[in-house]
Symmetry: C2
Subunit: 477 residues, 2 copies
């Protein structure tokens, strides 16, 4: 029997995952730590100083009740009956195994750090918003690509459902979720083969269609393999990246064809207001939110009058879903949102107006490895492979490759492969930013930065900074 | 006994490597293929068309003899006595197992493709140049991070030596190479611990020093752990990223201190003319090459007059080493070059003037997943996570996120996480660039793009395009 390379590829993922779990157990079970102490006292002080200053920021773009804020690191007592997926690790269990501050373990830099308190707050706020709006949440997992992150995104949801950006993610999550939408058009036979497997594996697996030509390819495959694919029609609501033109008669004909085809069934309409990344401030985002909902909803309405049932009308981008409220989505046919970046947020999202610095839950931690006083520079060991070279979006100006929590006047002005150059308009305090000290950086674009790492170190919150978990992500395609 | 997370991390790397080797054997040993056929005929035609047009380009920036060009895919008959490292797989063995064109295997896109004929030519040209100049080559492996690539870089060298950019690379290569320079300053205890292990493991392991403060940290560690570290002094020859100022008296004092210290020994001077990435054309590069060599050589000369022996004077960047000749390096103390990107080259290097399109050996292969005729656009399934968002260097303008071999008028003007937008100033031929067809893209910056993949598919050459190997790389830190 020949062994399929595809199978090996999958096996490789599993093995890596198992190894990472072993590593995780090892780290979490140890009562003392084998990493060397790396000047923890000073680092801890940096982080605490930063946290204190952040306390002064008290506005949150998302609505979280006081009661919920108090409970943000424990699970709702009355929600067990509605949780379908396994619960993430319990805090009490994790905390009892911790004896030292996270920083004292001397994890090698650069590494990727997640503040679970903030992540949990972000996830719960989005769930609450969807509930309040009477809209379902299909959590996009492309930003973190972890099982744990997805579980926080879907805590308490009766029918948890995801969007994924790669088939590698789809494979991984299909062991845990029964409703997954792979939202990147796939037309090659190798991908359709994998999509066939996934469609047979879980109750609801959806793919995308955006033209008659692509429908033809998908239908032909389905016909030849005796399967029916569930398809979302991608609708272009202004980004002009993918999706059908909702004002084109051909788009109506496409959906009509899907409606009549025995080889595919219509899951719904799916749109992504990527143009929201060019916004500055909530008012601009709100306009795009209204536009996004109106365009896709009007298109759904036209289909309805043609007698075509559209089960799902899905909108979403982190800016529009962070700012959007029942007001923007009321009187529309929108019944699903699918944001993803909000789990971590990032520096770019703060510039756009989706969130504030205190809402960012993901960081790249770097070590200061050089002083260059004559140029008022620091050198750090996080370069393009840790932070990514994303300079931010179109007309949103990010003067730095990230936001340095320890001192917001510091800017990362240049990145080579493994080295970052930090400068400031003010004289750098080299006593404070000594050689070997750590910097905690909010990346410009957390999706791209997170994908550079194979694991995330997770701390309970920024005050105690206790290591409570290590998450593995599913990279590649 | 407590298990060190560090150990597990290392074990994880090894296990991944073993799995990848299994995958590789499986792929190469199969006499028929389990991937589906993905429209191979058309794809093959695209690639062949492209290759034919490339034949018309006959200038090479590097000097390769006719004899060597004929032998470029086999090993020199008389070199076995001087090859220390294992030879890469033999072509005859590999070819006999191939029954179909590479393209027919339907590997999922995006994937990373290496043209071994071009890579081999690039590697041999650099070895030959070093030999002709009487300078030794310390091959930088940060671009590909593979064992196989390093072996091509060091074919026939009696004392093969490498530069690495991460400790993960250092760990990996230390099983195969006896002389490794880790060329990113490291000051944290966790890294120094690993450096200690590497120093004890192989005969020659070198690290960097660029200030008295960093020397103090390194010396203290060495003293406390009863070890002597071998150090290169990084010299700033104009990039102003890392390295000592060669015109500062303090820099001489630093080397003097190293010279006198019992805890460190001087391996040499190391400089990187990163400013060469801002050049356009060979003449500008040649000036930087001369400047780079002169600055570090003059500094070495000053040290010599102080009675300090400087074993190695190392220069290098792919632009300066591609253009440099014996003329630029003669009458200097330069005795080592350490380029790395030349193995793959990339679109940016063609703009700088280091090479031509025909010298690029690494590609991202993507599938066309959307047509948007009203905007004269194509959509491809290679986004920022496949190509990286590197837009090129400072004043070197790259209007596209890569060079599309099938049609140089096509430009990748925008990248989101998993999707690329391709446009053209000319009307796109949608008949030729049908849905499902493949595009072969030279990335702007091959170092950053390669690191997004966990393996490279290696073909013998662009005409036959037979899959001959699958290489695994060592990512992370």
């Amino acid at each position: 029997m020949l062994t399929s390379p595809l199978y090996h590829h999958h096996a490789s993922h599993c093995a890596t995952s198992v190894l990472s779990r072993t590593l995780k157990r090892s780290i979490l079970a140890s009562s003392s730590w084998t990493f060397t102490n790396d000047g923890g006292t000073t680092d801890r002080r940096f982080y605490s100083t930063c946290s204190s200053s952040l306390k002064q920021v008290d506005n949150n773009v998302v609505d979280v009740s006081d009661d919920q804020q108090q409970n943000m690191t424990s699970f709702p007592k009355n929600s067990s009956s509605t949780i379908i997926t396994d619960a993430p690790p319990k805090w009490s269990e994790l905390e009892s195994s911790q004896t030292e501050s996270f920083w004292s373990h001397g994890i090698k830099t650069p590494f990727f750090l997640v503040d679970l308190q903030v992540l949990n707050r972000n996830c719960r706020a989005m769930i609450q918003k969807a509930n309040e709006c009477g809209i379902s949440l299909r959590a996009h997992v492309k930003t973190h690509k972890t099982l744990e992150g997805a579980k926080y995104q879907t805590i308490g949801l009766k029918d948890p459902k995801l969007v994924v950006s790669t088939l590698a993610e789809a494979e991984y999550y299909s062991a845990h979720y029964k409703d997954i939408h792979y939202a990147v058009p796939a037309l090659s036979k190798s991908k359709l083969k994998q999509i066939e497997t996934l469609t047979r594996r879980i109750p609801k697996f959806h793919i995308d269609v955006e033209s008659e030509a692509s429908l033809k390819i998908i239908e032909e495959y389905a016909k030849n393999h005796n399967i029916q694919f569930s398809v979302f029609v991608q609708v272009d609501c202004g980004q002009h990246r993918v999706g059908v033109d909702p004002n084109d008669e051909a788009s109506l004909r496409l959906v009509q064809k899907i409606h009549e085809s025995p080889h595919v069934k219509l899951a719904g309409l799916y749109t992504h207001a990527g143009q929201s990344y060019a916004c500055r401030g909530k008012e601009e985002i709100r306009k795009v939110t209204i536009e996004e909902a109106k365009i896709v909803s009007d298109f759904a309405q036209k289909l309805k009058t043609l007698g075509i049932h559209v089960p799902t009308v899905s909108v979403g981008s982190t800016p529009t879903c962070s700012v959007g409220t029942a007001e923007e989505w009321s009187n529309t046919l929108v019944n699903e949102i699918h944001p993803g970046n909000y789990v971590f947020y990032d520096y770019m999202q703060t510039k756009i107006g989706s969130c504030e610095i205190k809402d960012c839950s993901a960081f790249v931690v770097a070590t200061i490895i050089g002083h260059r006083p004559n140029m008022n520079q620091l050198t750090i060991d996080a370069g393009a492979l840790a932070l990514s070279k994303d300079i931010g979006c179109s007309n949103v100006s990010c003067a730095s490759y990230g936001y340095i929590k320890e001192d917001e006047t510091l800017q990362i002005t240049n990145l080579t492969q493994e080295i970052g150059i930090v400068t400031s308009e003010k004289p750098i305090n080299y006593e404070k930013f000594r050689l070997g000290a750590k910097l905690t950086i909010i990346p410009n674009h957390s999706c791209l930065s997170a994908a550079m790492f194979d694991k995330y170190y997770v701390i309970n919150n920024s005050i105690e900074a206790k290591l409570v978990d290590v998450w593995s992500n599913i990279r590649g395609w």
